[in-house]
Amino acid sequence: MSESVINIIGLIGSIIILCLSLLLAFKIERLKQTETECKKLRKSLDEMDEQAKLIIRTDMELNKTQEELDKKISSLYALQKLSRAISTTLEETQIFKRIDATTLEELGFERNCCFLWSAEADRFVLHLAIGYTKGELDTIVSFIESIKSSLQDIITQERSFSTLTLAKNTTLRNKVNRIFNVHAFVVSPILSKEGAQGLFFAGTNNPDFTMTEGDEELIGIFAHQVGQTLENARLFEKTWRAQQDLEKKVELRTHELTQALEEVKLISKRKTDFVSAVSHELRTPLTSIKGYASILLAGKLGEIPEEVRLRLEKVNKHSDELTGIVNDLLDISRIESGRIIMKQASVDLSKLVASVADLLSVQFKAKDITFSDAIPQEATTVWVDEGQIKRVFINIIGNAIKFTQLGGKISVQSSKTDKYVRVDIHDTGCGIPPEAQEKVFEEFYRVDNAINETAKGTGLGLALVKHIVEAHGGRIWVESSTGRGSTFSFTLPMTA
């Protein structure tokens, strides 16, 4: 019994041991599998970590590039803002006021100074200071004064220097670092066409700031821009001053001319008044002279001897001429003083010319002169004082007859010009020398020629003509060449 029990127990024990062995073997297998899985996982993790390293390194490079790009974009944007700000002023004092500290900071430089060379003061004068206290600036100004000769040499060579170009531990670099209290800096010459004008200092105390060639270039560009703006401002100032001087001169001259004109007007008025008064005074005795001469010639006071009659006829004739002169002078003075009002009305120019031609037909015939007129329909109606304009035609054509040789030609033609009718009276006479052409309309001027030496004339006809034409709002001029005749042209207002 006990043996069989022992056997059974032994059997069970063996089975249990077998089961446990199997379980152990299974567990070991599972453990091996888990370990394999773990190894795989660890391997995956390590691989993932390796990939992470690659990602991080690439990301780092990308970020660096991005950072540089961002910096460049920001700097360019800031530079553009600064350039725009300073280039929109032409006042030298305003240029530096417009340099915005925040924008310069965007370029990476929070401490900035600008010095311009003053030949007058023989030193660099501070025009801009950003990021410094008064005490710091005093030290900086003294430092700049102490190295002004070296600085002049450097900027004359038109080159920048910076913490990038100056070797470490050089005296200049160390001094600039210490006195300007910066970690990195650029000093650029301010250039204009006339050369270096001063220097622009840009610095930063940011220890993370790494100076690049791009930074140096940007400050150089900005300093150059400042130089150009300064030049523009100075040029503008110069031009403006010149303009002001010119304006003052023009004003002075205008004032002088106005005074002279007033004097001329005064003299002219006095002359007109004098002529008018004298003419009036002359007319009365002239009328008496002519009247008595006529009475004597008519024989009302008895028969007069032939010689006396001839003399009296001369007296009568000269009296008529003198009356003519006096009348012309009176007319001129009246027109000048505005005492004659032109009685303007619509007048047919062709009829007026025909009547003048008719009036002068005897003279034409006497000198065998061919007269012609060409007054087209569109240039015939004028708004004038008929009597006065008739005097104009009579005077000019009368002169033409006087100075045209036998068998010559005189023509009148008109044409429309805007609101005026232009009349050209052409003759084939002896012509007027160029130097006399402007003077023929002056009172008492007579062209120096053979005809005038013998022919009579007062020198008032064309002066009166000019006054009449101008009183109508027109103008008169002459074109002539000696020996080829003359053309007197004038304009008259058209009937609206």
């Binding site: 990301d59 780092m60 900071e105």
Partner: protein, 400 residues
């Protein structure tokens, strides 16, 4: 200080170079939207150049008895810009039945960070004496060593029943001098804070947008913020391996590595990953981080892009806005990591646009770029404990 008026906010900013003109310009803008109300609190953020007592005195001369807090920053967030030079001011006139207490603590190092945190907490709490608290806002020196201990001390006294949001002052990545402001005091090695209570509504969001990359690793030797070994090898070796460069080159690239590839610490019970920037790479093979990295922490190397950052901003703004559905938000305070600002570069203003797109274009908004942000994780499922963060954007929205 208990208020008896309606909630009014005015914000203003200036980039004028003269601090008096800058303060006046910013104050003029800020006061333009305040109508006949007493200013209870003035928040000031300035670039390092303006962080001096004269600036605060000029502000105080205008605002009178109002409490003032703030900090220096490498980037003043105002309007739609991040200004590297300037000042931003927010004037806060609290609504009825709300109150606030401000306090500061200096000589943190001498007191020890933990003790200093506790003392500041006590000062803030003692001012409340049983009144309900809504939220706290803390500014601390960005160069403070053991800032995590300071926060732990602070939280120890303030408890976890309300959110505590904070920012570390900064100085444009020079790590030379950062300051916190309290009334007319400019303080280094110090912190200042304000505790709000009453009927105020606050919402906050905190996100970074970095993603883990590479295999999980463990910090095998560290003391506070100095990590000596990762997975049993020198910490710098791991980085040298990842970036395929020697120690010297690694040190040269430390700024870029710090911004782009921080480490992420996985926290038990929190789904978010806490980021830590590298402050420096040491010759002895250790890495010094901007916050503590406990020994045994599971860590991953993190990688971020501009797009992932901006996506995170949108998410943070959305979280902060959750509590304002149907309720107007009166002020948005933004604390944005200096590293994010450096990474985003010209795109940093896009973050502000994203926030404005979420809250509306006219909500007053100011902020500062920081050397560390402090906030609880997961604002929606609020768990109370405040953590020290790097690389995040932290948005605090206030209404009432």
């Amino acid at each position: 200080m208990i208020s008896t008026q309606t909630f009014q906010i005015g914000v203003g900013a200036s980039t004028q170079r003269d601090y008096i003109l800058a303060v006046k310009e910013a104050m003029q803008q800020a006061r333009a939207t305040i109508y006949n109300a007493k200013i209870d609190l003035t928040i000031v953020f300035t670039s390092s150049e303006f962080a001096h007592p004269n600036t605060l005195k000029t502000v105080k001369d205008i605002v009178g008895d109002s409490a003032l807090i703030g900090c220096s920053t490498g980037g003043v967030i105002a309007g739609n810009e991040v200004l590297h030079f300037g000042i931003a001011i927010a004037l806060i006139c609290l609504p009825e039945k709300t109150h606030l207490v401000t306090a500061d603590i200096d000589a943190v190092q001498a007191r020890t960070a933990l003790k200093a945190g506790e003392e500041l907490g006590e000062k803030l709490v003692s001012g409340f004496s049983g009144l309900p608290r809504d939220f706290g806002l803390i500014f601390y020196d960005g160069l403070m060593a053991e800032n995590w201990s300071f926060i732990a001390g602070l939280q120890e006294k303030l408890g976890i029943s309300f959110p505590l949001i904070g920012a570390a002052a900064s100085d444009n990545l020079q790590f030379a001098k950062t300051s916190v402001f309290h009334n007319e005091r400019i303080l280094q090695d110090a912190a200042s804070g304000v505790l709000f209570g009453g009927r105020l509504i606050s919402g906050y969001g905190i996100e970074h947008g970095w993603k883990p990359i590479g295999k999980p690793r463990t910090v095998t030797k560290s003391i506070n913020n100095v990590v000596y070994e990762i997975d049993g090898v020198s910490a710098t070796n791991v980085y040298e391996d990842y970036f395929a460069c020697n120690l010297e080159r690694l040190k040269k690239e430390s700024r870029r590595i710090s911004i782009l590839y921080p480490i992420g610490i996985s926290l038990p019970d929190e789904k978010e990953i806490l980021l830590r920037n590298i402050l420096s790479i040491e010759n002895n093979g250790s890495l010094i981080f901007q916050g503590n990295v406990p020994e045994g922490s599971p860590i991953r190397l993190m990688i971020g892009t501009k797009e992932s950052c901006l996506e995170a901003t949108k998410k943070a703004a959305g979280s902060a806005q959750q509590r304002f559905l149907g309720t107007p938000c009166n002020l948005i305070l933004v604390f944005d990591s200096m590293s994010r600002n450096a990474l985003l570069g010209r795109d940093s203003k896009k973050e502000i646009k994203i926030i404005r797109d979420v809250f509306g274009p006219n909500v007053p908004l100011i902020g500062a770029c920081t050397y560390g942000e402090q906030s609880p994780l997961e604002s929606i499922n609020y768990k109370g404990k405040t953590y020290l963060h790097n690389q995040t954007i932290t948005i605090l929205a206030i209404g009432g």
